[in-house]
Structure formats: C-alpha cells, structure tokens
C-alpha cells in the first residue's frame, strides 16, 4: 500500500498532470488553428470583440442568466466554484507542493475548505438528481454525463473522509489512495472529454459568430460535387 501511495503521489501524479496540461494545450492550439482556418475562407472577417468579451464576462458570473432555471443555475455555479477553488487552495495540497517544489500560496482556513467540499458534493448530488429526474436533461444525458459527475465528486468525498476520521469507515491509506487516483483519473479525462470545457468555454461563444459568416462559393462547390454541373433545386 505504501509503495502504491508513493507511486500515485509521485510519478503518476506528475505524469497525469502533465498529460492534462499538454492535452489542454493541444486543444487550445487546435481551436485557434480551426478558427484561423475558418477565417481564411471568409470574406467578412469583421468580428465584434467587445461584444464577445462582454458575453463571456456575463456568463462567467451568471447573475444575468439565472432566470430560466434559478435554482439549478445557482447550484451549478457553486459547484464550479467549489471544484476549482477547493483543491487549489487546500492547505494539505499547498503543503505537498511546497515540500516537493518549494512553491506555495495562501491556503483556505480548514473550516472554509470543509464547507466548500461539502457544498461541492451537495451541489454535485443535486446536479446528478436533475440529470436523473428532470426529463429535459435526462433525455440528453449519455452514460459519461453521469459517470464523470460521480468521478468529479469522488476526490471531494474521499478527501473529506481522509481529513475527518469520524467520517471514514475505511483505512486512511485506502481512502487516500482512492482520493489520489480519482484525482489523477480526472486529470487524464479533462482533455479527452467534455470536461475540457474548463479551458474551451470561451471559444464556442466566439466561434459561433465566426462560423455563421459563411464562406463564399462553398455552397456551390457542395452542390457541384453532389449533383454535377447540372445542379438544380
């Protein structure tokens, strides 16, 4: 167990973390290249940057956009906050980083971190409930939507259990191992699944506008290819 823990904390952590960083970098580069490729085909390259930035800001703090589903919007927002803030500002994580790389920053007080952890789990469960019981989301959901949500909550639950022995029926090491491995599984899956929206979310909003500007001559080329020069309606 000790050996596995050491492996999971050391080489596996570095490997999966690098996989995530490189994977996300690849996606960002691909997005930029695809937008450029699309732009090159266009006549009309006018693009309203300020409107795109304003929309991005509006959606980053979705105060303006909660009215259709107020409860779930707030839950989802809190869930995202918890997902990002908790692991990055957790005292234990920062201490580990400091001992390994000499890097560090201010940590959240323990009670706040605990509260955020529980909040994230509760919000995750509510979102899961919505996926299962709300017909709209249920109709759209695919297996990975449920599995990814469960996986995202796993390091939060096990992290809480590891720090609070009263909540932990298993051995400390076992819980810690699950905690680390599930976190690393998330690292691997981020660039491979829809979780990549953590870095890709600005691109769709921008690209929807660009992709609506259709390239001249493309429609005719399609018609000629499919129906020859005699193409008619």
């Amino acid at each position: 167990m000790e050996g596995m823990l050491q492996f999971a904390k050391g080489p596996l952590f570095i490997g999966t973390f690098m996989f995530m960083i490189l994977g996300l970098a690849r996606l960002v580069i691909l997005q930029v290249m695809q937008i450029r490729e699309a732009m090159n085909r266009l006549n009309d390259r006018h693009f309203d940057v300020s409107s795109a930035l304003r929309q991005l800001a509006e959606w980053a703090v979705p105060v303006k956009h909660v009215h259709y589903r107020p409860f779930l919007s707030v839950v989802s927002f809190l869930f995202h906050i918890g997902l990002i803030i908790t692991p990055v500002f957790l005292f234990g994580h920062i201490a580990l980083l400091r001992s390994a790389a000499g890097l560090g920053w201010a940590a959240l007080p323990g009670a706040v971190a605990d509260a955020l952890t529980l909040l994230t789990i509760v919000c995750g469960l509510i979102l899961m409930g919505a996926r299962i019981f709300e017909t709209d989301a249920a109709a759209l959901s695919e297996p990975q939507d449920y599995l990814l949500l469960l996986l995202l909550m796993t390091p939060f639950a096990t992290g809480f259990m590891a720090l609070h022995p009263w909540a932990n029926p298993l051995s400390y090491n076992a819980v810690l191992l699950i905690h680390i491995l599930s976190g690393e599984a998330i690292f691997v899956l981020i660039p491979l699944t829809k979780l990549s929206h953590c870095v890709l979310f600005p691109f769709d909003r921008v690209s929807s506008d660009i992709f609506w500007k259709l390239p001249p001559g493309a429609g005719e080329a399609v018609a000629r290819e499919l129906h020859g020069n005699e193409a008619r309606i």
Partner: protein, 452 residues
C-alpha cells in the same frame, strides 16, 4: 438525380467500414461529407463536440419543446444528433468507439426523425441566449437542414418557393409577374392619393438613387397598408425621389436561411446584382425579419468589401424620426397597442428599442408583452414553417398556443409585427383562438399617424 459519390475524393475516415445502410443513409453521409469538405462546418462541429455538456438549459427556452414536451425537440438533442453522426463517421475517435461498441450507426429511422425534427424548429434562436457554452443550436440545425436539402428532402413548400425564386420565370417566391407588380404599384399610389390626398410614387427601375427597396414579394399580394406606409415614410422624410424598386428582382425573401448555403448565397448575389444594376447604394429591406437578417449578415459575407449597406425599414424610419424628419400625430392611434418582436431582427438585439420609440410617439396606449425584446417568443411560424401548409395544425395548436396566451394577456387591440412571416402566423393564431385583436405592420400605423 444521382449522387456522385464515386467521383468524390474520399474524406477523412469516411466509410471506413460499410454501415448497415439504406441508400438514403449513404446519400446522407455523402452530402454530409461534401459539406464538410467545402465549408467551415467541420471546424464548428469539432469545437462543439469538444465542449457541449448536455446541461439541458436550452430546453427551458425552447418554445417548441415547452409546448410538445417531446425530448426530440430540445435544441441540444438535435445538436447532439448531428455531432454524434459527425463523430461516428468523420473522426478517428468516433470511429474507434463505434468499432469497439459496434454501435452508433446512422439508420433510416434517424433520418426520418431528422426530417421531422429539424423542420419543427422555428429557427428563432431563443436557445442561443441560454447556452452557457455559447453553442448556437440554430446553426447546427441549419446544417442539419442543409444536409437534408442536398438529399432533396426539405418540405415540399420550401422547395417549391425556392425553385420559383431561383429557377422560375418570374424570379420570386410567389411567382408574381412583373405586369402584376406594375398594376399593384399603380393601385397603391392611387390608394394613397385617395386617403391622404397627395401624390406618392412607387418608383420602378429608377437609376442612381440611394435606396433600392426589397420587401417580401408576398407584401404586394397581402400587405397593401404596409407598403403604403413604406412609401409614405420615404416621402415624408424627403427621400421620396431617392428610392426605387427593381424590376429584375423585387423579392427580399431568402429561404436559403432555412434551406441551405447555396440557395442563401444565390439569393444574396441576386440582390446585390440588382442593386448594382440600378446604381443604388443602400439596400432597404421592408417589413420582413428573416430577409433583413439574411441581407445584413450575409451581404458582407458573400459580396465582399464594397458590398452595399443594408438597412431595415424600421431602423430607417427610426433614424429619420430621431433626425426630426419624421413626425407623428401623438394621439393618432387610439387603440391599445402591443409589439411583437420578430426573432430575426430582435434576437441579436439589432432592432428592439427603435420600433417601441416610434410606437410610443403615435399610440396613446402602449403595452409590452411578456417576455419581450430579445427574449420574445417566436410567432410560431418562423424558420419557413409558416409556408408549410401541412404544418398548420402544429403551428396553431402546439407552437402558436404559447403565443396566443402571451397575446391574450396583453389585452391589446392591435398587435404590431414588422415581419410578413409573423403577420401571417399571428393572424392565423388570432383567428384560431378567436382573440379580440388585429395584426398590423408598424408601417400600417405610421401611415395613419404620420404628419405631412
């Protein structure tokens, strides 16, 4: 007409294995492949495929889904459908996944579902306001319709209109001959003279003017008051001699927006060609939502840098009003008035406040409907559905119901809709639900209220 798949260069990973496919499935994939090769949709689908999270928020905004409760009407459902086909047949990852699971083939019944589902969407783009990722489901639905159109599968009514416009002898969607147009214009001039006592001309083929005017050709058959309003506004603000209708193209309708990119571009090119023939500088679009949006958005896309400017007639009247060149009798409209925002001009925030300012200047009793502005409900006949006779029942009893309730709640006697498509649908809705109100164009009211 046969689909020339053999002559086409193979797309990436296309038909890696022979799917369990009917001829229709093959044609679908061949059309999809050709579109991916020549257009920008591949990039779009890649981006959407990476980040769409299937959160279901769009479902809450979709008027069609809220009315039918059928999950297949959820915008994201249609998008997922196209994305899944794309991934399955045109990406390596999707192919591997399909190969391993032996699943995910496109079937004949999927195509049936798309033929139904993609044309039930009214292309109102309300869902675009609500996607946290910024995915524009209407663009993917547009692509879905594009693929089906290359298989000759769009609803007959759309095919007939598009063919009449681009390949018919009269060159417009309603096959109105030029002689009939000329008669109509004379009649309209006489009507204005009868009602207002002044000579107002409807110039035809007048060269080197500022504005070339295009309205949906159906206005010449059905919306006399709107057209009289258009001409009177131009006359009243001193532009009466500075505009013209073109005899080679007098139809603003561009069903390409709901059909495919080829039709869209051909219509835009015809529009620009006519403006250049006339030597006009600005395209003035009449009361028509989709034609305004199509011209505004796609003239720069297809006609290059020196493309003519595009102005919608409501926007035009508002500018002249702000310049003080257009004045209204403040109490001229005594009835209680409400305003319906046509999706194609309001959803983007382009024309929202302007018509309200104009209405408040002439109507005593103005009331908003809820929701309104950018978030307004579609009339229920958008996306070409209003011209599909087979959909009349669906338009009335399903999508139109929401609109009827919204209209009823305002208690208005006049609902103003500056869009030929909305006017037709709203009239049918009002008739169907026996609402005590009538539909008018904004220019119909301006015609009544204008100070000469």
């Amino acid at each position: 007409m046969s689909v020339a798949t053999e002559s086409a260069a193979p797309a990436r990973f296309y038909h890696v294995e022979k799917p369990d496919a009917s001829e229709r499935v093959e044609r679908f994939l061949a059309a999809f492949e050709a579109i991916l090769r020549h257009t920008n949709y591949r990039g779009l689908l890649d981006m959407y495929a990476r980040s769409h999270t299937r959160c279901g928020r769009c479902a809450k905004t979709c008027q069609v889904y809220q009315a039918t409760g059928d999950p297949r009407d959820i915008p994201c459902y249609r998008t997922s459908m196209i994305i899944n086909i794309y991934k399955r047949y045109f990406t390596m990852g999707g192919w591997v996944k399909g190969f391993l699971s032996g699943d995910g083939y496109l079937t004949d019944s999927d195509i049936d579902e798309m033929m139904e589902g993609f044309y039930r969407c009214t292309a109102c783009r309300r869902c675009s306001l609500e996607c946290p990722m910024g995915i524009d489901h209407a663009l993917v639905t547009h692509l879905g319709r594009y693929i089906l159109s290359e298989m000759r599968l769009p609803p007959k009514a759309l095919q007939v209109s598009v063919r009449a416009q681009l390949e018919g002898e009269n060159g417009n969607t309603s096959s109105v001959p030029l002689a009939a147009l000329k008669n109509n214009l004379e009649f309209l001039s006489e009507e204005i003279k009868d009602e207002k006592g002044i000579e107002v001309e409807f110039p035809l083929d007048k060269e080197n003017v500022e504005y070339a005017f295009f309205c949906p050709v159906s206005d010449y058959l059905m919306e006399a008051e709107t057209l009289m309003g258009n001409a009177l506004v131009l006359h009243a603000c001193g532009e009466g001699g500075n505009w013209t209708i073109g005899s080679k193209n007098y139809d603003a309708i561009n069903y390409g927006l709901f059909y495919n990119d080829w039709i869209l571009e051909r219509n835009i090119r015809r529009l620009v060609e006519e403006v250049r023939r006339l030597g006009a500088r600005t395209i003035l679009i009449g009361e028509c939502g989709h034609a305004s949006r199509a011209a505004k958005q796609f003239i720069p896309a297809f006609a290059g840098k020196d493309a003519p400017a595009v102005v919608n007639c409501v926007e035009f009247a508002w500018r002249k009003f702000k310049e003080g060149k257009l004045r209204f009798d403040p109490g001229a409209i005594k009835e209680k008035v409400t305003y319906h925002d046509p999706c194609n001009i309001a959803r983007s925030g382009w024309i929202v406040d302007q018509p309200r300012e104009l209405l408040k200047a002439m109507a005593k009793d103005y009331v908003e409907m809820t929701p309104s502005g950018r978030e307004n409900y579609c009339c229920g006949g958008g996306g070409g559905t209003v011209s599909i006779a087979e959909m009349q029942k669906f338009r009335m009893e399903v999508i139109g119901k929401t609109k009827a309730e919204q209209l009823k709640a305002t208690g208005a006697e006049i609902v103003v809709a500056p869009c030929a498509n909305c006017k037709k649908q709203l009239r049918e809705v009002i008739d169907h639900y026996k609402l005590p109100m009538e539909v008018k164009g904004l220019h119909d009211l301006m015609f009544r209220a204008i100070q000469l």
